[in-house]
Symmetry: C2
Subunit: 750 residues, 2 copies
């Protein structure tokens, strides 16, 4: 009790110091005149007041009541249900169907052949504590979508997370996966990277298991006692080579309409090269326990009660067999428009996916229901006579789980229209409890920071932006903390992949944002049958407080973008961020050069060999090519231009009242500015990805690589490519800077 | 095969580059004229040639054949056997007996009372793969020596390593051990700290278990398959409050002779305040598995296949009962002297303990047999007519395990004689495979670095110093690597405690060294019945190659110190090192000041509270007293004098030929110089520890604290004490510097 009083006092103090201070400075909204700022703030207050938490709960329960993966009956029902909701709220809504390759398992067998016989269960049991866990006839079994069919038998090798660096460790120990089966644990990289890298090293099959270290008992009590993955839980998921291109594997670059020209499945490049399947730790334990060979490096050891060994020859032999129904299945995107009154051809697109691997209460419905309530709130406003200046498009994507299918096919089909009309794409996906996460185009960094200050945090008397900032101040690195003292805005994350912003941002060059709450809702239900309403309402966001907060953040973002006098793009933060990326790639080259020289010297002098334990028989790494001195001057020059143009634009627009015609003309430049960060030729080895600043890593899958063409050429030691890419990227940045200068001229000319 | 050839080529290259270069520079030995250096080098070659690996093996087998703890029949036999060896090699050897308090268990019971009934086995089973593991009648059971008797029942709380910082984490979670039983895992601090800190926080009992994360299956295969601790292995060991004083708990400061005046056991301050016992992880698992309450912080989680919880009220209740035979037992130090021809009253003392918790093949016999072979080699030399200039004293200590009993009682009994005659004490303890470890007085840093270059590494064609250096170059931090490019000598470690150098260095102020090999012989046999001949010859140093290398390093060290024209003390490395310590304590105060301010601000503004997960109910830490600005000027001034005096001495002695009488007079100053680093009043709260530069930490137990009076006053936030101690330590350093100036004058006066 005493403690509670203390808490109240503290929150009281806080509300008069931190909050008051920042809130007051934010009366003028980016992109709005002072007068229109007030109107907009009033509108948002009205919007907030109309939102109802109960709707989130009702819809979450309804949408997660049955499995609703691609091609399922309930998936279609959900789409139709949402369509009817959007229509009832006054939207011009429709379902857009695409027809995509979507394999489902026909045969799944995994057994240990030697030294003992063991047949894996590969099944998640029904729990009496979880009402939907028993819907066996409708559940997709545990599998990895876009694994090829296969029937393989071989020695097992433990490859840790299965990243390229992990194979270097194996090589030091003289262990090859060639002709063998790799067993990797989930984590460390996106799952699709594991079979890709295993196949590159000659493996004939790949198992992926969930180690209890990563999302099981090591992290917390397991389901149903706690939120974490129990011994039988397994993680479904796509293993298509999405860093090459996402979407339907048979229709890259084009919409997967009924009559689209499709690739032959046998040659479709994003299908895996080897069969791959996910297993639980109950199924993995007998295999790993029996593995012989060298003991795994310390960082490779998980939380199973065994000594982790690497395996290899004559240790554990496994057989597994996979066969799939290689069907073309329909997917249903729900697209709901509210036409803009003044600028109908400027679209603010707001999306979340609706398909799940099973019941998907958390992933994706926790975000989906927040979007629905947001759309309802906007609809309510429209019923009172207000209308957006720009067109608002709400989207509920299907087929995100197998590979961003719904969003990608839609974006590909409507590419030309979107390039002309799309101003911003705002994404959300699963939503949890905790801190506001903000990522996306840094031209919107200032904007989304300001939005964050307009929504109260449900647990404290701070706004959600302040709580995120407080978290960085309390838990951030000294460098982060130091920067926060000298920077008005929180830095937003750069987008890699893993959700539906990818086709918009990285394929079409549409400025994008991704928003959601998290950090306090840890668990291990991801892509299992236990991602259920019961699980989410116990461990996720039980009171839907953060769901409602997401409705508000999403709503304010959408409404401000739709209503602004001028689109609230800002370039100095972007220039600052690109400056950091330039420093990073420069330092990366420098540190790789130093480290390469150091290791080569150690190895050729025999020093490295001399300090190895002779009982471990380690093999010295190969001598590597020296890292050249790259000419980063063009990049520095482009960066200087970018900074100059960003400052010029900021100075030109400061306190300047623009005519309606100038606003319109300026909007046209701003909304298309991100297109100038793309190149038609795309990135090396993957031309679908056009953006030159942000991309998912070729070997991370989800994790972002900024200045990807330069950074990955360095990382992958393709020295000739580095100089070429520095030139191309520099040219891109200069073109972008020229666009900003164009905008500045326009403003000045008025 | 190809690989082997490559290896040979590399080693070949290496031997002609790195080695040749350094070896050549070391023809002139520290403390010797050029002429005498050559003689000494020849002597060492003769010594090396006489050493036989087979002796190490024979003695290890013999000495570890039966349990030989304090008071055991076989311990006495071992002492008598070694006495006869020393005598046979021509030493003037004797056994010195002391009578010490040494409790052995009468009753040991541990059971879980609720929520389930479970009775702990607290027993290590016989293994057919281990020939001595079945010697049940002679083995000491698993227990912690100097635990008090007790019979306690209470709620169990998991306290991680049981350090003061761990209790701060518990406090944040509102968990107290008051009136409860703490269960700590081994590691993180010396074991005796765990019951000490638990009792300080009001616990009524303490269990200490071996988590498989720390020396069990997580680290490697368990015994007998591999070297690591199996589920039933438990770690015996002393829990006396040794940071207060080591040695017999009843006779602090005096030798525990038959008639010594003894403290009443009931008031003996180094006995624990609460009962404490060690258990295996098989016995700990049922308790930890049933613990409820909050989930333990990430860093607290071990490798058991459970979610680690903290426990507290109404979770797990345990009962344990301990009763001991509180006997006075005899211990037998074997002391073997070879009188110096020219300087018989300058003693070079070389020791290793011989007692073990059970069979102790590794701890301590691996070091003991190396010392024996060294002593035999020196004896052989003496038989050829050579005699040491100074007196050599070989010691085989008894009673090290319960608390450095043999060495401490001997040092206390002979304190006055030792203060007059002891020049250097050289310690070893367990010896493994790998890299030469060198620690001790930094006045001997240059000397021991040079010794390391005179012994070949058994696995490579490097010398053992070069291999240690190579290890730091390959695996060291960038700062370490950078320093190695600019520094001739490897830095040697500072001594805390945990072996027999403590009474010599920290009580009497005798310059000390500790030497041994390790780093490639990991395992978990420590203080269990599995520390056996079978274990050591499979996983320790199977071919006794590193045992023989230790005989050489120890022999060269001893012979050089015994034969040198002038004792090879050098002060610039010491001054450099003290300079680093001064920087460390200054930075410690600065960083504590910053961090205290930061945390106080975060807590009083409510920022800290605002970012906590409300479901975790964390309590904000208390506001702490601000860290004052201390006046470090006296310390800086003393350091300047120290550096100046060290340089003056170095310049004065460089290439100077000294007369025999000057050498003698100089020796007297040098050999006693370390005494000037002590203060009779000792450290705050523990006057037994006199040394002002090195001490075991009051809350680390073994881990060293340099400039301990200052450093610990800061760490323990005793602000008034800090200034006082800065003055005293500065005065000590100035006195020491004055002694060096005295030596310089002496040299110059010649």
């Amino acid at each position: 009790m005493k403690n509670t009083i203390l808490r109240i006092i503290i929150v009281f103090i806080l509300s008069f110091s931190v909050i008051a201070q920042t809130i007051q400075t934010e009366k003028k909204l980016l992109g709005f005149s002072t007068e229109n700022s007030t109107k907009q703030t009033d509108l948002e207050a009205k919007f907030d007041a109309s939102l109802k938490k109960d709707n989130l709960q009702t819809w979450l329960k309804r949408l997660s009541a049955r499995p609703h993966h691609v091609g399922s009956a309930y998936g279609k029902e959900n789409a139709e249900f949402m369509l009817s909701l959007f229509k009832s709220w006054g939207y011009d809504a429709q379902i857009e169907q695409f027809d995509v390759l979507f394999p489902t398992p026909k045969i799944r067998v995994l057994e240990m052949v030697s030294p003992q016989k063991f047949v894996a269960k590969i099944s998640e049991p029904t729990l009496k504590e979880d009402a939907t866990s028993g819907q066996k006839t409708e559940q997709l079994p545990t599998y990895n979508a876009y694994s090829v069919d296969g029937d393989v038998t071989g020695d097992l090798v433990y490859v840790n997370y299965g990243t390229p660096a992990d194979y270097e460790e194996l090589e030091k120990r003289g262990i090859s996966v060639k002709g063998k089966i790799a067993i990797a644990r989930y984590g460390g990289s996106w799952r699709g990277i594991k079979p890709k890298v295993a196949a590159e090293h000659g493996a004939i099959g790949c198992l992926i298991y969930s180690d209890p270290r990563d999302d099981g008992y090591f992290q917390g009590d397991v389901y149903p006692k706690g939120a974490y993955r129990n011994e039988n839980g397994a993680q479904r998921g796509s293993v298509a080579d999405m860093p090459l291109f996402p979407g339907d594997p048979l229709t890259p670059n084009i919409g997967a309409t009924k009559d689209a020209k499709r690739l032959d499945r046998k040659t479709a490049p994003t299908l895996t090269k080897i069969p791959v399947m996910p297993i639980s730790y109950a199924d993995a334990l007998p295999l790993l326990r029996n593995l012989g060979g060298a003991v795994a490096p310390t960082a490779w050891r998980g939380a199973l009660p065994i000594t982790y060994h690497l395996g290899g020859v004559n240790s554990v032999k496994v057989h597994f067999k996979l066969a799939f129904n290689w069907d073309i299945k329909p997917i249903y995107d729900v697209v709901a428009k509210m036409k803009g009154t003044e600028l109908p051809d400027e679209w603010i697109i707001r999306g979340n996916h609706h398909d799940a691997w099973v019941n998907g209460a958390d992933d994706p419905l926790s975000g989906m229901v927040a979007l629905l309530e947001e759309a309802r709130g906007v609809g309510e406003l429209a019923k009172t006579g207000w209308k957006p200046k720009r067109t608002i498009v709400y989207c509920a994507w299907d087929g995100e789980e197998p590979g961003l299918l719904g969003s990608t096919e839609w974006a590909e089909l409507h590419a030309e229209e979107l390039k002309n009309k799309a101003a911003v794409y705002i994404n959300s996906d699963s939503n949890g409890r905790g801190f506001l996460g903000m990522s996306g185009s840094h031209t919107l960094e200032k904007f989304i920071n300001q939005v964050g200050k307009s929504v109260s945090d449900p647990q404290t008397n701070l706004n959600v932006w302040e709580r995120s900032r407080a978290n960085q101040i309390v838990n951030g690195s000294p460098a982060t903390r130091n920067e926060l003292n000298n920077r008005t805005d929180l830095r937003i994350g750069a987008l890699g992949s893993g959700s539906d912003y990818t086709p918009f941002l990285q394929h079409l060059g549409i400025s994008s944002l991704n928003i959601g709450f998290g950090g306090e809702d840890g668990g291990g239900s991801y892509h299992s049958i236990y991602d259920s309403y019961d699980h989410f309402t116990r461990f996720g966001d039980p009171n839907f407080n953060y769901g409602l907060a997401l409705s508000k953040v999403g709503g304010h973002t959408t409404l401000r973008l739709a209503n602004a006098d001028v689109l609230p793009f800002e370039f100095t933060n972007f220039a600052d961020t690109v400056g950091n990326y330039v420093n990073e790639v420069t330092r990366l080259a420098d540190s790789m050069r130093d480290e390469t020289k150091r290791m080569n010297d150690l190895i050729s002098s025999g020093m490295w060999q001399a300090v190895q334990d002779s009982t471990e028989n380690l093999i010295a790494p190969k001598i590597q090519s020296a890292v050249p001195n790259f000419d980063f001057a063009p990049l520095q020059k482009a960066l200087a231009k970018l900074k100059e143009s960003a400052n010029n634009f900021q100075n030109a627009t400061k306190d300047k009242k623009l005519s309606v015609s100038t606003q319109k003309a300026l909007d046209q430049i701003l909304m298309k500015s991100e297109r100038f960060l793309t190149r038609d030729s795309g990135l090396p080895k993957r031309d679908w990805f056009k953006h030159q600043i942000y991309a998912p890593g070729f070997y991370t899958g989800y994790g972002v690589k900024t200045l990807p063409a330069i950074r990955e050429s360095i990382e992958q030691r393709e020295w000739d490519e580095v100089g070429r890419q520095i030139k191309l990227v520099s040219e891109t940045i200069e073109n972008f800077a020229a666009e900003i200068e164009k905008a500045t001229k326009l403003v000045k000319a008025q």
